[in-house]
């Protein structure tokens, strides 16, 4: 009974007259992509989108600064998930950037009146339906515009558990915000989908790319190498940067891991959920085991977050130290390396 009322609250009628069911998701980009495909009749979960689109990643980029701190990321580059999923499922899709805000807003209105629901990249600071403490100058938040309403748009934001209204002014500012990783009014939707898409080959392609990104990128800041690099940096950081700055940097890593809509443990639990779904799809016990291992790895990431928070909070008064936090990060590094090597070998078997 409770579920029925919840569904009622979350269902919306789009311009084309279809019912859109809003689903709460962990992460914005995977949530939006999954919702766009579901709207076209493809049954796909957020975790499946994340796996097929090779969302799994790790990178620590000391030379690119964001608010004065090196970028640490647990996910692939923003705006790549949707096109990858669309390609791998064999659908036709539309993506476009706009330089001019008026043209971009007009294009959105046209797309909506043509009956599409439209994915939009936005700056989360300008979306005033969020509480103040969620609002930071971050240009990679994704939402879906469902239809135009008076003075604004009805939007489905996967981070929230129900659709909301967004004023035209907010949306225009959010879509055309300037700064690092500008959204440039980026909008996208699914044009057509193939009937019964080949999920197996899509999964294989997604997993293969993830293995490559985690293991083989010849660059010391990406994948497992990046984790080991960052772990060493954390251990050295109090001496190198001074205690307050070291705390700030460590807190930033935890923030990227836990705060910004990752589903827990920097997307590791979401990837474990994907591996579980893939295991059912292929009927593979090996994949099921890898899913369990990924869950265990995620638990260690959570522990890293807890220990790091203690280090920062106690200001060096507790027994937890930067050395312990950094050391804790080396464990998932080693285990993820093993996991992706096994996955890589398994892929060849599954391909047959």
């Amino acid at each position: 009974m409770k579920e029925a009322t919840a569904n009622k609250m979350n269902s919306e009628i789009t311009v084309s007259g279809r019912t859109f069911i809003h689903q709460h998701a962990a992460h914005c980009e995977s949530g939006v992509t999954a919702a766009l495909f579901r709207d076209k009749g493809v049954k796909i979960s957020e975790a499946m989108v994340f796996g097929v689109g090779s969302g799994m990643f790790f990178g620590h980029l000391p030379f690119i600064k964001w608010v004065g701190m090196p970028i640490t990321t647990f996910r692939s580059r923003p705006r790549t998930l949707f096109p990858k999923v669309a390609k791998r499922l064999g659908g036709k899709f539309f993506t476009k950037e706009y330089r001019n805000a008026q043209k971009g807003m007009a294009a959105l209105r046209n797309a909506l009146s043509d009956g599409h629901i439209v994915g939009l990249t936005t700056n989360i600071y300008w979306l005033s339906y969020f509480p103040n403490r969620f609002r930071f100058q971050f240009n990679g938040h994704n939402i879906i515009a469902l239809r135009e309403i008076e003075n604004g748009f009805r939007v489905s934001d996967p981070i929230l558990d129900h659709p909301v209204d967004c004023s035209t002014e907010d949306l225009e500012r959010a879509r055309f915000a300037r700064g690092p990783l500008e959204p440039k009014g980026f909008m996208y939707w699914v044009e057509t989908v193939v009937e019964n898409p080949d999920f197996r080959s899509a999964c294989l392609a997604g997993m293969k790319e993830s293995c490559y990104m985690m293991l083989k990128v010849p660059f010391p800041f990406i994948g497992i190498k990046g984790m080991r690099y960052l772990a060493k940096q954390i251990i050295k950081s109090p001496e190198k940067l001074g205690f307050p700055e070291a705390c700030r940097r460590l807190a930033n890593v935890v923030r990227m891991q836990e705060e910004v809509g990752t589903g827990g443990a920097g997307f590791r639990f979401m990837y474990a959920a994907f591996l579980q779904e893939a295991a059912e799809l292929f009927g593979s016990d090996e994949l099921a085991e890898l899913s369990q291992e990924m869950t265990a790895i995620g638990d260690i990431w959570r522990e890293f977050a807890v220990v790091s928070a203690r280090v920062v909070k106690q200001r060096g008064q507790s027994e937890e130290t930067f050395a312990k936090a950094g050391g804790l990060m080396l464990i998932p590094a080693g285990r993820e390396e093993q996991l992706f090597k096994e996955l890589y070998n398994l892929l060849r078997k599954l391909e047959k």
Binding site: A25, P131, R133, R178, V254, G263, G264, Q276
Partner: protein, 138 residues
């Protein structure tokens, strides 16, 4: 993480009722998405970042009242911007934005330039030439 391990901490001041999705295992070992009321670790880390902006904003406000900076500096911090971001948004070169943070130079700005700043900062031109007397609430 199992369902009963998903944090359900009370952090109303932070989440304001928003529940974040967490992936966790049910009793049968199957993954489900579980909404989390909040997590103290996440709340603390967020507070650090948020307070950093708040401190900058308050410092700028005091500096404006003390006549050391122009009101533009306060509103730039309020919007969590840098001279580069503000400059791009208003269509004014970053080095000019930096000059305009000085009160004596800001006082001589043309209405059109003030208008461009006010528009970029989503405030009115009248608001732009003064700062609030009291600190803003969280």
């Amino acid at each position: 993480m199992k369902i009963n391990e998903v944090p359900q901490d009370d952090v109303p001041d932070y989440s304001e009722g928003i529940k974040k999705g967490n992936y966790a295992l049910d009793d049968k070992g199957k993954y489900v998405m579980v909404p989390s009321k909040g997590w103290v670790v996440d709340e603390m880390i967020n507070r650090m970042a948020y307070d950093e902006y708040k401190v900058k904003e308050e410092e700028a406000r005091k500096a404006v009242l003390a006549g050391q900076k122009s009101p533009l500096a306060y509103y730039m911090e309020l919007r969590q911007m840098t001279p580069e971001i503000l400059g791009k948004t208003a269509g004014i070169a970053a080095f000019r934005v930096k000059r305009h943070l000085r009160p004596e130079i800001f006082a001589r700005l043309k209405p059109s330039v003030l208008g461009a700043y006010a528009n970029a900062l989503a405030i009115t031109t009248e608001e732009l030439i003064t700062v609030p007397k009291n600190p803003r609430e969280r």
